[in-house]
Subunit: 337 residues, 2 copies
DNA sequence: CGGGGGCGTTTTAACGTTCAAACGGTCTTC
DNA sequence: GAAGACCGTTTGAACGTTAAAACGCCCCCG
């Protein structure tokens, strides 16, 4: 465990010079730099992050509250997201610190504490809710943050965010289905209380109208829970009420799996008789058969933008609200063969 | 952002006394303690972790390498594990720091670097492999670690670990199936190269023998990948070759889902005609129908033991190898109604 | 030849905390 | 009544780093 002092002694320079060699190499004369660099390598020196942070009061750590989920609700792309976030943080020399906190505003003292004790520089929020109180609170406390997901509705100054254009994604799915000959496209959704759901639904509706396809109220079905069973049940209702449906855009992969199951149960072939698309391109999408066409969120890009916004000092010209386009991954459930 | 100095001035004591009030309150006279405590509250003081860590050279941070998975292989219980790990760390005043690293021994420089720069005190490893080189390497470097999962086979001094008795879990599943009248129980497995697979398989074999049930080689089928398709295909082969099979113990929930699908395809009812069990009790197990009987790993306990081993200084009497019992969660796929 | 300006390096001080030793007071003990 | 032990508190130093200022040197210019 070599220290700056030991390196300095070895290279026969002052401590500060070694520090400069690392943080501002242009200040050193080339030969000095080389001598110092050699000593650093020789002694296998690594800067002590704690000492550095104490001096600079920046810890290069970003807090992320690991979501807890109601039973039976999986976050199937969470590991993708975490991996992307981690990678993005690392390319900027930072790391992710995990913690737990109560949901909503009750969790705020935890955020404040972590920041006050200087365990983190700022936070990445996810699971943003319709009237998420966390944004306003953090802004008030002047704690840096960025949110994955817009704050939906009625909140003044929502703060910096990165989000995916769910409406655009669903519209793309509808257009793809239209191109492959589908003409009566249903939408499997969640309850109205979710901003996410309304956004995606609006994309389906807009694209259908644009293409002259029906958007009857009966074509948009809501499931109370994000489970396979609910997806299957809703699909059954849909097909019973309207046998002409030839495609289903589901708001999640899980609901889409439910749709697939119900189709199989009825002796229908997904992708042939009725096309199905999901959302998130979770790992399950590619392991079922027929494999599920799904709308993939660009996790790497999301993570990069999140870290970028969080670590770049606010600049007048640069927006801190970024909407990214998802990608439609086409598989057998909508285009067999 | 109050500091110790400011609190000291406010309480009219020395800095060290305030420090003692927090770290060794028994040393203070009750009235002094109260006065100091009051000042701390009044100024909303929070100790600066960096300064503390610099002095004590302990950062109270535990590194965990976020696993990256081959496409189409989901780690469905990773968020459960992370949540449990986080919670366990927090109850001991620590936190989890995420990072990425190449798999195997190539990732070791990353571990060393994080430790040398004093970003973490130690590591929790997971995804332990048969000849995992990380354990030996870390031990050699004297970097504290604990592994979730045994090092299988031939490694001397495997190092501290917490693991789940997969054999015991599978044996419990077999006994449960036997109790409910099943007499020809098959096992859906992975390739032989996995220590995990061999462990679980051995539990099935042992329990069957104990109960006088057949363990023909044809009853133990191997799937090359952990996908629903592979599980379905293997189940099809199994039933074609041996129509007498009345129960299937699958080594993973994913394979079990494949089995369920194949049964449905054949017009058989899971839980009635053929019983099926999975492993991990992933979120999917409870959202399919019939819901899947599955072997649940005690995540909270696992996490607690991991943190305990990692943070407790080695004591001669106390073992650092702990094997925990999983819990069989019985649902409709093995016991309808 | 004296003053100003770069340049590369060193010096000084500070970040906020804890450890170890020192201190002064009171209470025992012989 | 002096010596020792104990208790609660303070003092001094250190952890390893970086920011800012100071320094000495050389070069240029008037």
């Amino acid at each position: 465990m070599a220290t700056l002092k030991q390196v300095a002694a070895h290279a026969e320079v002052s401590v500060q010079t070694v520090s400069n060699a690392l943080n501002a190499p242009h200040r050193l004369r080339p030969d000095t730099l080389q001598r110092v660099t050699k000593s650093i390598e020789l002694l296998n020196y690594r800067p002590n992050r704690n000492a550095r942070s104490l001096r600079t009061s920046a810890v290069e750590l970003i807090g992320y509250c690991v979501p807890s989920w109601p039973d039976g609700q999986a976050h199937l792309v969470m590991d993708q997201f975490l991996h992307a976030l981690c990678t993005a943080a690392e390319t900027s020399g930072r790391h992710i610190l995990l913690f737990t906190a109560p949901v909503g505003v009750e969790g705020m003292p935890v955020y404040e504490d972590l920041h006050a004790r200087r365990l983190v520089d700022g936070f990445v929020l996810s699971q943003t809710e319709t009237h998420d109180p966390r944004h306003g609170w953090l802004k008030e406390q002047q704690i840096p943050f960025v949110s994955f997901g817009r704050v939906w509705k009625e909140t003044t100054q929502p703060g910096p965010y990165v989000d995916v254009d769910g409406a655009g994604g669903c519209a793309a799915a509808v257009r793809h289905l239209h191109e492959t000959g589908r003409r009566r496209i249903a939408f499997l959704s969640w309850p109205k209380t979710s901003g996410l759901a309304e956004d995606r639904l609006s994309g389906w509706r807009a694209a259908c109208r644009e293409l002259g396809l029906p958007t009857d109220a009966s074509l948009a079905v809501r499931c109370l829970e994000d489970t396979i069973d609910q997806g299957a049940r809703a699909t059954a209702e849909l097909l019973d009420a309207d046998p002409g449906v030839d495609a289903i855009v589901a708001i999640s992969d899980i609901l889409a799996l439910g749709a697939l199951r119900e189709l199989t149960r009825r002796g229908l072939t997904a992708g042939v008789d009725v096309a199905v698309t999901g959302f998130d391109d979770s790992p399950l999408a590619s392991v079922v058969s027929p494999a599920l066409t799904s709308i993939r969120q660009p996790m790497d890009q999301i993570a990069t933008e999140l870290i970028d916004i969080l670590t770049t000092p606010a600049t007048p010209g640069v927006s801190t609200e970024r909407l990214l386009q998802p990608e439609l991954v086409i598989r057998g459930s909508s285009a067999p063969g």
